[in-house]
Point group: C2
Chain length 256, copies 2
């Protein structure tokens, strides 16, 4: 916060569509790669291909941010990287806590993508006293007794839950009570939170089940498959439709 810069001509409508927001990180990643290769500009067509979407969608998405391109030329890579980063709030640093340092929590802590852009693992928290003090990814695990203190001292507003399913809601409640307003949930449970708190979930078994559904449909339809591939539903590159809740839960134990 602390952005006093709340002001704008509001040339365009306020409020970027959720579907667009979900794609901005994808564009940003593609742009960063281009930037590292010192590519100065890209067309919507090229960038769209790199991000796995179609160009009309990309141009529409960018139109919500403003007119950052040059007709007949394309987009300036560096400039766009900056604009999208700012729009996503990545020009500031977000301290994050990970709660539940089991297999998954440890994997997340070790994940390099955290630090890379705007996020910083402020603390690792686990309920097991035996874990306390043990360093994971170079960060000492702290006991969950001090969860509230850790949140407050570090000004944490984003929490990652990687506990077993049963512990997720209680942990969530404590995080929220301590001031966290955004939660990324890896536990296979539906979390209930007060208004104003955002929750996104990542659930492995849901993703697998969705794949199984399509897989089954393919199998039941190999009726007219001449030498070539199946003529069933498919998609191009890799653009998940409007799905915004990929999942991949990993915590163990769960009635289901």
């Amino acid at each position: 916060m602390a952005t006093g810069r709340t002001h704008r001509p509001a040339t365009r409508s306020r409020g970027i569509p959720e579907a667009t927001v979900a794609r901005l990180p994808l564009y940003l990643r593609a742009l960063t790669a281009l930037s590292e290769r010192s590519v100065p500009t890209v067309s919507s067509e090229e960038l769209a291909a790199a991000a796995g979407v179609n160009s009309a969608k990309l141009r529409k998405d960018f139109s919500y941010l403003g007119s950052y391109g040059t007709r007949g030329v394309g987009y300036d890579v560096e400039y766009l990287v900056y604009q999208i980063s700012r729009e996503l709030g990545l020009t500031q640093d977000w301290p994050v806590v990970i709660v539940g340092i089991g297999n998954l929590g440890a994997a997340l802590a070790n994940y390099g993508g955290f630090a890379s852009r705007g996020f910083r693992v402020a603390a690792l928290i686990d309920a097991d006293p035996a874990m306390a003090g043990k360093p994971v990814a170079g960060i000492p695990v702290q006991h969950s007794d001090s969860l509230e203190k850790i949140i407050q001292e570090n000004g944490v507003s984003i929490g990652v839950i990687a506990t077993p399913a049963g512990a997720a809601q209680p942990v969530c409640d404590r995080l929220v009570a301590a001031g966290v307003t955004s939660i990324l949930n890896f536990a296979p449970t539906v979390l209930t939170v007060p208004d104003g708190v955002d929750v996104r979930k990542v659930d492995l078994s849901i993703e697998l089940q969705i794949l199984a559904f399509h897989e089954q449909r393919k199998a039941g339809e190999e009726a007219h498959t001449d030498g070539a591939g199946p003529a069933a539903a498919t998609r191009e590159g890799s653009d998940d439709s409007a799905d915004q809740g990929p999942d991949g839960d990993v915590p163990a134990v769960m009635p289901a």
Copy 2:
């Protein structure tokens, strides 16, 4: 996702909306919990609450499967568990391979939810020769040289990629060439696959960035949190737009 041109009379209730398919696993999980508590029937209202959606949506979703409820009463839990399982293809066993047994791959292999319902880890594959033979989650890791053989011998059609970003596309290509038609990708890369192959992605940094976007918007708007908003639901959907900025001001500088 791209849907091919499915020109076909549709055998009846075939053609369940993608958004509905994505929610079926959620309903299934809630139903399984009820089943374990020996609850015989549920109303759409109750089940919807447990799954974190609203009842109208749930009823509409179920209407695509058929008329499995009883007016004035609700749904038979056991029967619905069976119907949804069958619809999702979980009445059969899906062998799955996990490629890339690093921190994340190991965490996935240890995830209990795999075996629980329809899925079975058929093999763990890694490119590091030092890993070969080492058991992870009780399953010996195999070297990626034999990837094709493993896929074919086990009749694997679903693959999970948990490799570093750089290895993901090559691995994906090999999986597809060997016969895999559904891929769950944990690597932060856009995968390109032929038609007929489904890809779903799980991407930590994208999720965090989406949360950061909303977090930033909340921060920039802490002017009137007067709760003017109409009581909103408190669930964790994939949607859930935090507060809606009345006339928001999202910092979005614009160039010329």
